[in-house]
């Protein structure tokens, strides 16, 4: 009888061990969030927003600001990152080409155009703090039941380009208001090589217009 019990117990333990090992392997192999970033460009995003009540009519003209405004954070100036001006002309040219490709006519005088397009860039340093506990089990000697946490502080720099399109026919000089029927935001990590940064900016600006087909006057 005791031998039979011992046999059943050993089989049960073996089964528990097999299942436990399987569970451990699966949990280790799977993870909740598989997949990985293969390139910094995969962290780039393009966000566009439009006023659904706005009517895009043809022919339309635009005035493009001849300078990219580099904005700074005045509330928390320590987080500002100085952006290079080496890409300003590229940004202006790409935006102009995209508007022309959609059939807009460029005006060099700001007041005579239907739309005014502004370009603004912002560089920010972001901070992350991860807290983790280095030991499982009991106890970390000298700390009793308390496990001393480890803090990992990391930072990364991001750049954002804003393209804003204002409807000059809605200027309210008294109320100091103007409608903005479309805007785009390009965001990504800073610090790539000049050629890659150029590619990312070109791709991002083009994508902003590709995903905004309503901009094409009907």
């Amino acid at each position: 009888m005791n031998q039979r019990r011992a046999g059943l117990l050993s089989k049960s333990l073996m089964w528990v061990a097999v299942v436990g090992l399987g569970v451990a392997c699966v949990i280790a192999a799977l993870g909740c969030y598989p997949g990985e970033i293969n390139s910094v460009t995969e962290l780039d995003i393009v966000f566009t927003q439009f006023d659904s009540t706005h009517v895009w009519v043809e022919p339309a003209s635009f005035y493009l600001q001849d300078t990219v405004v580099h904005m700074i954070d005045t509330v928390d100036p320590g987080n500002n990152v100085t952006l290079s001006r080496a890409f300003d002309n590229l940004i202006i040219t790409e935006t102009r080409n995209a508007l022309l490709a959609y059939g807009y006519v460029e005006h060099t005088a700001p007041d005579s155009s239907d739309y005014m397009v502004t370009l603004t860039a912002l560089g920010i340093q972001n901070w992350t703090v991860d807290v983790w506990y280095p030991y499982w089990g009991c106890c970390w000697y000298g700390y009793g039941w308390y496990y001393p946490p480890v803090y990992d502080v990391d930072s990364y720099e991001t750049g954002t380009l804003f393209i804003d399109m204002y409807d000059q026919n809605t200027v309210d000089s008294v109320g100091m208001r103007i409608d903005r029927p479309w805007n785009a935001l390009l965001n990504g990590l800073l610090g790539t090589t000049a050629s890659l940064t150029q590619q990312r900016l070109e791709a991002g600006i083009r994508q902003a217009f590709v995903q905004s087909p309503y901009l094409k006057p009907q």
Partner: protein, 193 residues
């Protein structure tokens, strides 16, 4: 949720005294494929499906039990997402981590010593985390759902007290926080009975 836990507890408490032959224990691994609206979010199949099964035979051909599963559906896509008043594009990682905890009932057909067909269903709680990562941002939604999962499968003997297990089931959850989930499981595993 409390009602579900109470129902599961009642079932296990009312079960007959334990003997090795009365119980069915199993571990499974399998393939998941999203269905319905869930497939609009993640269309790729996933092999990240792990489950534990415990069943108690209340008669020679009928069992009740519990089923726990961990299913990870994921997809990497660059598809632009249209949102009200705009769009967002970039490389996205879309994840669904689903944890169904189901009270199950099954009926068996065939010889106990040979291959047995079973049909049944599970009903219970689904904890689901839906997470979309895009660029440096992530949006996460954690929800609890009520759901059910009809299933059909085979138990195939291959020696000792261990048997092979193959089943297919379809999960369908209620809506919570604007989301409802549907997916297929095709699972293989090892069971003892």
């Amino acid at each position: 949720m409390r009602k579900i836990i109470a129902a599961v507890g009642m079932t296990l408490c009312l079960a007959a005294p334990v003997s090795a032959q009365d119980w069915f224990w199993g571990a499974t691994w399998g393939l998941s494929m999203a269905g319905g609206e869930t497939a609009d979010y993640i269309s790729e199949e996933s092999w990240r499906n792990f489950g534990l099964e415990g069943r108690k035979f209340v008669s020679p051909k009928t069992s009740v039990g519990l089923s726990f599963n961990w299913t990870v559906l994921d997809e990497k896509t660059t598809e632009a997402v249209t949102i009200p008043g705009g769009a967002i594009s970039g490389t996205q990682f879309r994840y669904i981590n689903a944890f169904p905890l189901l009270l199950t009932g099954h009926k068996y057909f065939g010889d106990d010593e040979g291959t047995m067909l079973f049909v049944g269903a599970g009903i219970g709680a689904y904890a689901v985390e839906r997470r979309t990562e895009i660029g440096l941002f992530a949006v996460t939604s954690d929800t609890w759902h009520f759901g059910l999962a009809p299933e059909v499968g085979l138990i195939i003997p291959f020696g000792w007290r261990a048997k092979g297990f193959v089943n297919g089931r379809y999960h369908y959850t209620s809506e919570a926080d604007g989301y409802e989930y549907q997916w297929w499981d095709i699972r293989i595993g090892i069971v003892t009975m």
